[in-house]
């Protein structure tokens, strides 16, 4: 009998295989991820500051236990993990900060 959890894992793997656009180094292990780096405006003061808002979606199983302030390397560029938001179904959205 196919369990729902197995279906979720299967679907997540398919999503990452189809939508991943980078290979990411997390804790020294290369995993597929969906990296986005859209423009963003930091809401500061009367005018704000244009910036980027990088995020990375990876399999939750590939994320270390205490990810905040740890480092990931996306296509050779290091980023700091600012926040981690597991979706409860096997994928985790990491909010990243630039390190260079």
């Amino acid at each position: 009998m196919l369990l729902f959890a197995d279906l979720e894992a299967h679907a997540n793997a398919a999503v990452l295989n189809q939508l991943s656009n980078v290979m990411v180094s997390i804790d020294g292990v290369l995993v597929p991820g969906v990296f986005r780096n859209p423009s963003a405006v930091a809401s500061l003061g009367s005018m704000g500051a244009t910036d980027t808002g990088p995020t990375l979606t990876v399999a939750s199983s590939s994320v270390m236990a205490q990810p905040v302030e740890k480092q990931v390397v996306v296509a050779g560029t290091p980023y700091e993990i600012l926040a981690a938001a597991p979706d409860g179904t096997g994928l985790t959205l990491l909010t990243l900060g630039c390190m260079q």
Binding site: N37, S39, A40, V41, A42, S43, L44, G45, S46, M47, G48, A49, T50, D51, T52, G53, P54, L82, L96, G97, C98, M99, Q100
Partner: protein, 132 residues
């Protein structure tokens, strides 16, 4: 004030008057000087000069990939305050210029950005019946 902040060496590379758009991503430091309001002294003698208190704000932005935003903006705020403290008459344009308040915020998007608004009060005098 803008001329003082831009005097060589400028306190940063991007100094605007009343900037209305977001600080560009390429600018690691920026300053915007904004005239806010002016209040005349009440009870001036008819025909006599009028003393004013004019409020001007200076918004400082600075970002870093290393330091938190509040630390990133510190040096810029210090440079602005020190520069304006060098001549509190702005070349005898005003009687006095003093800091009346500070506000701060910071955030971490792609980079860590700090923001500080310095509020200055300029005391100056105009001829009665004109704003000169």
């Amino acid at each position: 004030m803008i001329a003082a902040l831009k005097a060589s060496p400028p306190v940063c590379n991007l100094i605007d008057r009343a900037r209305s758009t977001a600080i560009p991503e390429q600018a690691d430091q920026a300053v915007s000087v904004q005239w806010e309001n002016a209040l005349p002294e009440s009870g001036a003698i008819f025909g006599a000069p009028i003393d004013w208190q004019t409020r001007i704000t200076i918004e400082c932005y600075a970002r870093s990939t290393r330091d938190p935003g509040d630390l990133a903006v510190d040096a810029l705020v210090q440079s602005v305050a020190e520069r304006l403290a060098q001549d509190t008459t702005l070349g005898e344009l005003v009687d006095d210029l003093r800091i009346a308040g500070l506000e701060a915020e910071n955030t971490a998007e792609g980079k860590k950005t700090g923001w500080v608004r310095l509020t200055y009060i300029a005391e100056h005098r105009t001829n009665n019946g004109t704003l000169n």
